[in-house]
């Protein structure tokens, strides 16, 4: 009888549990902006951001028990956001309606000029991120837009520090070159 009784051991994984509402809401409030803007930068369309953000937090709710205390919440959330964004992109491609990052049209009574201007002024960074390869894109988002530490980036991307360094510096170079190209094009148009 005694032998049959199950004894908890240190190796045993904790039973999955869902977070308490307060716990979940606190997590949401702390990180919702980070999740939202990360999704945007990872290529989720403006109109789909609320759904995608919900999706991330539904996964958070379901897998709350997998979060390791002491590790970075943002690294964990970003990894989830990456998967959600990637699913969305796949879905959009299947549907044949993939919209480039900068093609969202803001609502309201803006004239086409306003739209063009808003797009020009606000989405240079998104435009660049959209054309960058995924490994460098995520490294740049985390380091230069989120100002994450090298250790957090390592944790989020599961890569070593020299790779983090290489991707970030290479992405920065690419951004500077992108702006240069854009200027040259504008100058050419000006002259012709």
């Amino acid at each position: 009888m005694f032998l049959l009784r199950k004894r908890p051991t240190a190796e045993e994984p904790p039973a999955p549990r869902t977070p308490a509402p307060a716990e979940f809401d606190a997590m949401y409030r702390t990180h919702v902006r980070f999740v939202w803007r990360s999704l945007r930068r990872l290529g989720v369309r403006e109109a789909a951001l609320d759904d995608a953000t919900q999706e991330v937090f539904v996964v958070v709710h379901r897998r709350f028990h997998e979060f390791r205390a002491g590790s970075s919440e943002r690294a964990w959330l970003f990894a989830i956001a990456q998967r959600v964004a990637s699913d969305q992109r796949r879905w959009a491609r299947r549907k044949g309606n993939l919209v480039a990052l900068h093609e969202d049209v803001p609502g309201g009574a803006d004239t086409p000029l306003d739209t063009a201007l808003t797009r020009e002024s606000s989405d240079l960074v998104l435009e660049f991120l959209a054309q960058l390869d995924e490994p460098r894109r995520v490294a740049l988002i985390l380091s230069d837009l989120e100002e994450m530490t090298g250790r957090e980036i390592q944790e989020a991307l599961q890569i070593n520090m020299s790779t983090v360094y290489y991707r970030v510096t290479s992405a920065r170079k690419a951004f500077v070159a992108f702006l240069e190209r854009r200027k040259r094009t504008a100058d050419r148009e000006e002259k012709s």
Binding site: W36, R41, T169
Partner: protein, 263 residues
């Protein structure tokens, strides 16, 4: 050297909060999440109250319209009788002693998360700055000090007033450029083409070959025509269309100063 140019650093700086949701969007999404996850309505309304009230406290004028829907919804819920629960729960999430009702939940709640602040804060990673500084070449601007203020004032950059003086740091150039163009557009919408033209002239002086030079010329055509300076407007329009006829704003420019035009 792999550091960013001041212009590139300025664009990143500007982009850091540019893609944030509004407070109203945060509240709406949380509300939808509660419905999806089956979190009780009383708790849900408390959380929405908190987000919406913080939104009301910090929302700029431009966000007020967008917010009003949510606020109405929330007020309705509060009036219907969940105000007491809302207040109690509000206290609980801030880390004070949990009330009797959610005692079971509170017992399983790690204090670190329960007492989490209401705005985004850097995670508890030891000596973050030092790690970054040692491992990554930083952008030339000192960005770290500003992150806290930035989190609290999300989206403020979109509301830059045209007349506001540019910060004196080297990264000021691009935001200022954008502010001038945006200010000109706003003036145009408010039927003040002279003000628009003045801002566009400033843009031409400070940023003759800026990133938005094309947009400046297009807007100038619209402003000249709106000011009744049709001859100049038509001349500027012809020049603009000849140079940038394929740009996305050409269609709008083409419609300006049409009256009296030879067909």
């Amino acid at each position: 050297m792999t550091d960013l140019t001041p212009e590139a650093a300025a664009l990143f700086e500007q982009a850091r909060t540019k893609h944030d949701p509004s407070d109203a969007e945060c509240a709406q999404t949380l509300s939808a999440l509660h419905a999806r996850l089956g979190i009780p309505e009383a708790l849900a309304s408390a959380a929405v109250v908190e987000m919406a009230s913080s939104a009301a406290a910090s929302a700029p004028a431009a966000g007020a319209l967008f917010l009003s829907k949510v606020t109405k919804l929330v007020l309705a819920t509060v009036v219907l009788g969940s105000a007491a629960t809302a207040t109690v729960w509000h206290g609980a999430t801030r880390g004070s002693a949990p009330p009797a009702a959610p005692a079971v939940q509170a017992a399983t709640t790690p204090p670190a998360i329960v007492s989490a602040p209401l705005i985004e804060t850097p995670p508890a990673v030891p000596a973050p700055r030092e790690i970054v500084d040692a491992s990554l070449p930083r952008a030339r601007t000192r960005l770290g000090e500003r992150s806290r203020a930035r989190a609290a004032s999300a989206r403020h950059d979109a509301e830059v007033a045209p007349a506001s003086p540019a910060p004196t740091t080297q990264t000021a150039a691009t935001p200022s450029e954008i502010a001038l163009i945006r200010g000109a557009l706003t003036s145009l919408r408010q039927r003040d083409p002279s003000a628009a033209l003045r801002l566009l002239e400033s843009h031409a002086t400070y940023y003759p070959t800026g990133l938005f030079a094309k947009e400046r010329e297009g807007t100038r055509v619209l402003a000249l025509c709106a000011a009744g300076r049709s001859d100049e407007g038509r001349k500027a329009k012809a020049a603009f269309l000849a140079r940038s006829g394929s740009s996305p704003i050409a269609a709008r420019v083409e419609l300006a100063c049409r009256e009296g035009e030879a067909r």
